[in-house]
């Protein structure tokens, strides 16, 4: 009976689930009060199921959900509170506003425990806070825009003073203009509320922009969690790199200490290959984190844009040893306004493509098919084992 009740006594949200049927759902994560966590992954990854599990709309076969020291679900102890027993705010993907009730009545619905007058008063307060005019507050949902409906849904979710706020793809049906306003609104709310907020999204930019923490999911499994910067720089495996959209991912072979010359302490050699079948490649000196033991094992590796820079000419001197200069041909250059997206094909390893964003005025002079120099700082390289099915490294 006492198992596990005290192991997570912090005020945050702790979720762990391990179920195979009716759909696989595996993994665990946590979120502190005031923190915003984004569940990201492709459609069908189980993000919404995970959200429904936290809300109490989905009964898991084996799971534990704990918040603010309170157990909402613990299948080992036979506890699973229903949605109406949990103090949870949920913003549905298509808002799920009651079509026959105006905005005020929709928000009041979450406060039926209060007398009518207090209920309406509180609902108007919440809607004012969300920036809806008194005239808009009287309208039925169908007479409100997507962004306004979203604000009503958010007000309704918060009106119950939940211990946890959940949002399912909250901005997917909202136009770009209203989206900015909503981002600001949510940033303000986060400061005031001090409860864990979990957001489901497939939009990585949105996740990076809003969330303190990402939980990457695929096929019902939690693959990795961490800050957006951490996941972007060191994805756990190739699938995570794919899912979070890291463009520069390459094949390689882990050579350990043996290379053109013995690697210094704390470094190892990575052979950069065009394809896994290649034997020849470029030798790179990278940090050895001691995780890859087998020599000559096939690996994939990524490098974040920060480690790459493009120049008109090769730099005269290469400063620190773990850096190299590469020659490349610019194959395309697309301007996205403030930045440009450049695609390069390297001379060595022949045929390797690289994508990076350029900024600054000099990019205006670049021409497609021009030869450029790429300076690569190898300390930004992150090496991953080629994934064995069913085995996750940590």
């Amino acid at each position: 009976m006492t198992t596990g009740t005290n192991e997570n006594n912090s005020l945050g949200l702790h979720v762990s689930v391990s179920q195979h049927l009716p759909m696989p759902l595996q993994g665990s994560f946590s979120c502190e009060p005031g923190q915003m966590l984004a569940l990201v992954g492709p459609s069908g990854a189980g993000k919404t199921s995970m959200l429904r599990l936290m809300a109490g709309l989905l009964k898991p076969s084996q799971a534990k959900v704990q918040i603010a020291g309170e157990i909402w679900c613990d299948t080992d102890q036979g506890i699973c509170l229903s949605a109406r027993q949990r103090l949870v705010g949920l913003v549905f993907q298509n808002y799920a506003l009651m079509p026959h009730m105006n905005a005020i009545d929709n928000v009041s619905l979450a406060m039926l425990h209060l007398p009518v007058k207090a209920r309406v008063h509180a609902a108007i307060d919440w809607l004012n806070r969300m920036g809806l005019t008194p005239e808009q507050q009287q309208r039925l949902p169908a007479m409100l825009s997507g962004g306004q409906q979203q604000r009503v849904a958010l007000a309704r979710a918060l009106a119950r003073q939940p211990k946890l706020l959940l949002m399912d793809e909250p901005f997917s049906a909202v136009d770009q203009m209203s989206r900015r306003g909503l981002y600001t609104l949510i940033a303000d709310l986060r400061r005031d509320l001090h409860i864990p907020i979990v957001l489901v999204t497939h939009d990585l930019n949105e996740a990076r922009q809003l969330a303190d923490k990402l939980v990457v999911m695929d096929a019902g499994q939690v693959l990795q969690q961490g800050t957006p910067a951490h996941i972007h720089r060191s994805p756990r495996n190739a699938r995570v790199a794919d899912l979070v959209g890291i463009p520069n991912r390459f094949h390689g072979r882990w050579s350990g200490a043996q290379g053109p010359y013995p690697a210094p302490q704390g470094y190892a050699w990575l052979q950069w290959l065009f394809s896994p079948q290649d034997t020849q490649g470029v030798h790179l000196l990278v940090h050895d984190k001691g995780r890859l033991k087998k020599q000559n094992q096939a690996v994939t590796w990524v490098i974040q844009g920060d480690g790459l820079s493009v120049h008109d000419h090769a730099p005269d001197v290469i400063s620190n040893p773990p850096s190299i200069a590469l020659t490349a041909r610019l194959t395309s250059l697309r301007s996205l306004g403030e930045i440009s997206l450049a695609t390069l094909v390297l001379d060595k390893p022949a045929g390797c493509q690289m994508q990076l964003t350029l900024s600054g005025s000099w990019r205006q002079h670049l021409q497609p098919e021009q030869t450029v120099a790429v300076h690569m700082d190898c300390s930004w390289i992150h090496v991953m084992p080629v994934r064995d099915e069913g085995q996750s490294s940590s």
Binding site: L57, A96, L97, M98, H113, L140
Partner: protein, 232 residues
Amino acid sequence: MALPCLDSQENIIDWQALSLSLKLAAVTLALLLPPGMLLARWLAYTEFKGKYLIEALVVLPLVLPPTVLGYYLLVSFGAASPLGQWLSEQGIQLAFHFSGLVVASVLFNIPFLVQPIQRAFEAVPANLNEAAAVCGLGSWATFWRIELPLVWPGVLSAMVLTFVHTLGEFGVVLMMGGSIPGETKTLAISIYDRVQAFDIQSADRMALLLLLMSLLAVAASFFATSRLTRRR
């Protein structure tokens, strides 16, 4: 029926039959509505193996000739059947009694009441119930505050349909009830009797009355439904 022409000057319209028809329609509706709504809601929200069989049974009275249904009811409730004998031992007479008409009419109207309500419940988005649960609403609060207002147009048209359909029912009533004035002789039967007796004037008036009442009821329900749904 013996001398229909004698009193036809004063009684062009068989008021007794009309009031019996109205009474039958009202009783049928009152008895059928609560279980019909439960059945409709259950069929709309639940998925199970063999659901199609239940749905087929619900629709059966719609496709069955009324005389066939009436015949089976008469056979099963008549004095010769075990069920009829058991009922008469309890002091219940169904065949050729008003109560028998009610039973027949309730069974016969199941599809007319259940189907529109089932469609209405099916049209309620599933996540509204979930949203209500997350708002802390119990099943009753969800039913009264969310489901009922949303299915109300469907319920209203189902009620009108059932009522009007009972007013005009002929085959089942004739088989089950015969044509006993004040007990089982409804307006539709009365019209038939007058035609048989060549009292065309009276049949004419009563047919017109039934036509107008039905038209009025259906038009009123359509009007109300369109006003209810326009607000969304």
